[in-house]
């Protein structure tokens, strides 16, 4: 029942009326100027105006809005803060955007059991701030954590710099309440982290809003470590920084973060308001963050220093206090903002390769960027092998945009060729949907469609995402894929 053409004025007016009766007219946006900001998430290459934006305030309202959309024959797209970078919240097919930002309450905090129950619109960093006085924090820390919502993090299985030690969102979600695409409300998982049967919570986290709309999330909280030590290690080149990363991983340590900033990024950062005093002639900077018990970190940091020397580090600085630690992180966290000075647009790529292949892959990626005449810089989660080649460009220049796209595809092909994957934390969305065939064959994608179809059988929830379009068409037409004989109970 996906929409196939422009929505008639009458149908639109009827939907506005029915949805307004549920959420209030002030929470139903329909003017082009209001809709504009909902036309894309952080991937701004191909924005599409939604036909309507609805901001429900409760699970019950989400359920009723979904039913209203279905009754009107309209698809819908769940949305958090819109900070995603793969187009997961793009409103394709004249979809109605259902934004969860009004559902922003921390419903409960259970310090004894280290759990919190939150609505999807709670901003990631706000949860850590709220539980900080209890010496707890919410571990997933995507770079957008000051703005992104936990509902969006669940959709994308968001990671961040500290994923290396603490894992992605999936490691921290134990139960969810969600509105399925038929409007029904279901609860999956349990607060204790176990539910008999299939791990449906695990399947939903990272499903990019294509299984339904998550309306309540029970998350694990983590104790703030007793001690944190941060080192800034300066190298002549990226391969040497990667050498140290490999040495640390092999040594048995599990650092909280291992983040590399390359020379091109250093130059951009130092020319910006995020300047951190990094030497402009450095080839790469590696941030090593260790956390844990106070008694174990001095020896670990001593070992890091020794390994850094062997890897050819030019300089190792250890943060003396929290202020200096923040200073060290400025270059890393300010990188994307700094790149705003280089060009009007920034394409933040995201791919993962085996850690041991980082040096050669980074070299090849720079070569690709140079060959296409692009402004390329690299900031990456080296401990996870998670690359973020960033291309600064101007999308008004169609010819340059074509080069950006072509170079991006070549980079992804390279990563897959060495055993890597298309995305480590941004998701597939529309951005990489048509590249899925680089990694998966038809049977693999078909299995994914079987999973999606169990939740979203007619494809009304967030259409056109993750699976290449030709397959999604088959999904909407069971006879085309021979599933019509499959008994669905």
């Amino acid at each position: 029942m996906t929409s196939t053409g422009p929505v008639s004025d009458i149908a639109q007016a009827e939907l506005i009326e029915s949805v307004s009766a549920i959420v209030g007219r002030e929470h139903c946006l329909s003017e082009p100027a209001e809709l504009f900001v909902y036309g894309s998430d952080g991937l701004t290459l191909d924005p599409r105006l939604p036909s309507l934006v609805v901001l429900p305030g409760s699970t019950e309202e989400v359920s009723r809005v979904v039913r209203a959309c279905r009754a009107a024959g309209r698809c819908f797209v769940p949305r958090g803060a819109g900070t995603g970078l793969s187009g997961g919240a793009h409103p394709l097919d004249d979809s109605v955007v259902i934004s969860c930002t009004r559902m922003a309450s921390i419903l409960s905090v259970d310090a004894e059991n280290r759990l919190a129950v939150v609505e999807p619109g709670v901003v990631n960093a706000d949860l850590s701030a709220a539980v900080g006085p209890l010496q707890l924090f919410y571990a997933p820390d995507p770079s957008s954590q000051q703005a992104c919502t936990i509902g969006g993090n669940v959709a994308e299985n968001a990671g961040g710099p500290h994923t290396l030690k603490y894992g992605t969102t999936s490691h921290h979600v134990v139960a969810i309440e969600m509105v399925l695409p038929d409007g029904s409300i279901t609860r999956l998982g349990s607060a204790c982290g176990f539910a008999p049967g299939f791990d449906l919570v695990g399947a939903v986290v990272g499903s990019e809003g294509t299984f339904g709309i998550v309306t309540e999330i029970t998350v694990k909280l983590t104790a703030i470590p007793e001690c944190t030590e941060t080192a800034l290690v300066i190298f002549e080149d990226v391969p040497s920084a990667c050498l140290l990363v490999g040495s640390i991983i092999r040594s048995g340590m599990v650092p909280a973060a291992l983040e590399v900033v390359d020379q091109r990024t250093i130059a951009a950062v130092e020319a910006s308001v995020y300047a951190a005093g990094l030497p402009l002639d450095a080839g790469a900077v590696l941030i090593v963050e260790l956390d844990g018990a106070r008694c174990e970190l001095p020896d670990q940091m001593r070992r890091v220093r020794e390994m850094a020397a062997i890897a050819g580090a030019r300089e190792v600085s250890i943060a003396r206090d929290a202020e200096e630690r923040t200073h060290f992180w400025r270059a890393r966290k300010g990188a994307f903002g700094a790149m705003g000075r280089l060009a009007p647009d920034l394409y933040v790529h995201d791919a993962v390769v085996p850690r041991a292949r980082l040096p050669e892959v980074l070299g090849a990626i720079c070569e690709i960027g140079d060959r296409y005449g692009l402004k390329l810089s690299n900031v990456f989660h080296a401990g996870d092998g998670n690359l973020h080649p960033n291309i600064s460009f101007d999308r008004r220049n169609a010819e340059e945009l074509e080069r950006v796209i072509a170079a991006g595809r070549e980079m992804l092909e390279l990563c897959v060729k060495v055993g890597g994957v298309l995305t480590g934390e941004h998701g597939v969305g529309v951005e990489k949907r048509d590249y899925m065939g680089l990694l998966f064959n038809d049977a693999d994608l078909d299995a994914m469609l079987r999973l999606r179809a169990a939740f979203n059988p007619d494809g009304v929830c967030n259409p056109g995402k993750m699976i290449p379009t030709t397959r999604a068409c088959m999904e909407a037409n069971p006879k085309a894929r021979g599933y019509d004989a499959v008994p669905i109970r």
Binding site: D199, G202, A203, P354, V428, R450, Y483, V486
Partner: protein
């Protein structure tokens, strides 16, 4: 092959190259089953072709690895053929640089652990009992005593190769340690007891080998609240295994090592691992909380043995709950005569009962009713891990669970003929 119980698929399976199809002799029958034949395919292709034949003949199979956890699922229904994954064995690759390993489903876990150890890494899987295979560990998702340090089974799975019930070979995930490319299919398969797909092979993430390990047993002081102490121990930086064992159980299991005070109600067993400085500090902290004795790692291993005990008369149940509810639940279960092993975080209680020889069979529903009553109040999910053989006919081992419509739909989509481990998970799956 001859005989009236011959599956109609037998001739096709016999002629299928590499299927390893054979009739079992009387000694080869898995306990409690109606299994008369075995498939032991040598390759993923052979599994896929076998499943296509079985689906066409509507012939269900019992999918198994080391057959060490059959008592922890419902007996399969209408099933005559065992599909053993033991024929798919071997480590394809162990990348010591990256700390990842790829192995075939039937690879013994002991072989994988030894290989990881030789390469300077640790295999973070310790399903209860011995003789398990990689595929079995992933299919059951069951954890042993080191769950606190190793994490859940699903957390070390990077990628899977599977054969769906419908016979398609598929792959999900990859060898890298971070990945959100496509749906997280591995989460769906791990712990599904082989009801959706046959696991053919897997990429796993290894853990760093700790530089130091210290294990000790402690008798909580009389003024100390044992559950609070156990939870505090579990939240120490280097805690890898923390368990409270009720005194009646501790005294009857010599494998659990010495007990500092024999008249204490609980025995706290702890294993710390990590850097030397932190394990020393944590062990000293714990040693200051009561009389303690050092333990060998085998005592911690013995906890896993308890979780896999197969005494014919024994009931073993596993209850998942919040740490804050441990005390009240344990008190009630002990009042009912159950012996306990308690893991404080993630909070799990293993409850055991072994009746006197010749006891009236009514003991079983009575004990199950106690567990049901105490867990229902807390909405705590629980499963039966082992029953006397006569108990399976009357009780679903996933008593604290229910199959949602979503689960039933998934079963139909991945295993449309419902031939994989029919009925073993929550009765209908």
């Amino acid at each position: 092959m001859t005989g009236s119980d011959e599956p109609s698929a037998a001739s096709e399976l016999s002629s299928l190259s590499g299927s390893g199809f054979e009739r079992l002799g009387p000694s080869g029958l898995p306990a409690g089953g109606s299994i008369s034949h075995r498939l032991e395919p040598e390759s993923g292709e052979a599994i896929a072709e076998s499943l296509k034949i079985l689906q066409a003949h509507e012939e269900p199979v019992l999918v198994a690895g080391g057959m060490t956890k059959l008592e922890s699922m419902n007996p399969v229904r209408d099933t005559r053929i065992l599909l053993s994954c033991r024929g798919l064995s071997g480590i394809d690759e162990l990348d010591a640089e990256d700390g990842v390993v790829r192995a075939r489903s039937g690879t013994p876990l002991a072989e994988m652990a030894a290989a990881a150890d030789r390469a300077g890494w640790l295999l973070p899987l310790d399903p209860p009992g011995e003789g398990g295979t990689l595929g079995g560990a992933l299919a059951t998702g069951m954890c042993g005593p080191r769950r606190r340090g190793f994490g859940a089974v699903r957390e070390c799975v990077l990628g899977l190769e599977t054969v769906l019930g419908s016979g398609e070979r598929t792959r999900c995930g990859a060898r890298v340690v971070k990945n959100v490319t496509g749906y997280d299919m591995a989460k769906l398969y791990v712990g599904s007891f082989g009801t959706l797909a046959v696991i053919e092979g897997a990429w796993l993430r290894l853990q760093p080998k700790p530089r130091s390990t210290r294990s000790l047993a402690l008798s909580p002081s009389r003024g100390d609240e044992p559950f609070a102490l156990a939870l505090e121990a579990a939240r120490r930086t280097s805690a890898r295994a923390v368990a409270l064992v009720s005194a009646d159980l501790a005294s009857s299991e010599p494998g659990l090592g010495p007990t500092p005070e024999l008249d204490a109600r609980w025995k706290l067993m702890v294993e710390f691992s990590g850097d030397e400085a932190v394990t020393r500090e944590d062990a000293e902290w714990l040693g200051g909380r009561g009389p303690s004795v050092p333990l060998g790692p085998e005592a911690i291993d013995a906890l896993g043995g308890l979780q896999a005990s197969k005494e014919e008369r024994t009931l073993r149940a596993r209850i998942h709950l919040l740490p804050s509810a441990l005390r009240i639940v344990c008190e009630r279960l002990q009042q009912a005569g159950l012996r306990l092993v308690v893991y404080p975080e993630p909070a799990v209680i293993y409850a055991f009962f072994e009746p006197e020889a010749g006891a009236d069979p009514s003991w079983l529903p009575a004990k199950l009713a106690v567990i049901e009553e105490v867990t229902a109040r807390l909405a705590a999910p629980w499963v039966v891990e082992s029953l006397p053989a006569w108990g399976y006919a009357a009780h679903d081992v996933f008593m604290g669970g229910f199959a949602t419509p979503l689960m039933e739909t998934l079963k139909g989509r991945f295993d449309p003929g419902r031939i994989l481990n029919r009925g073993c998970l929550i009765g209908v799956l």
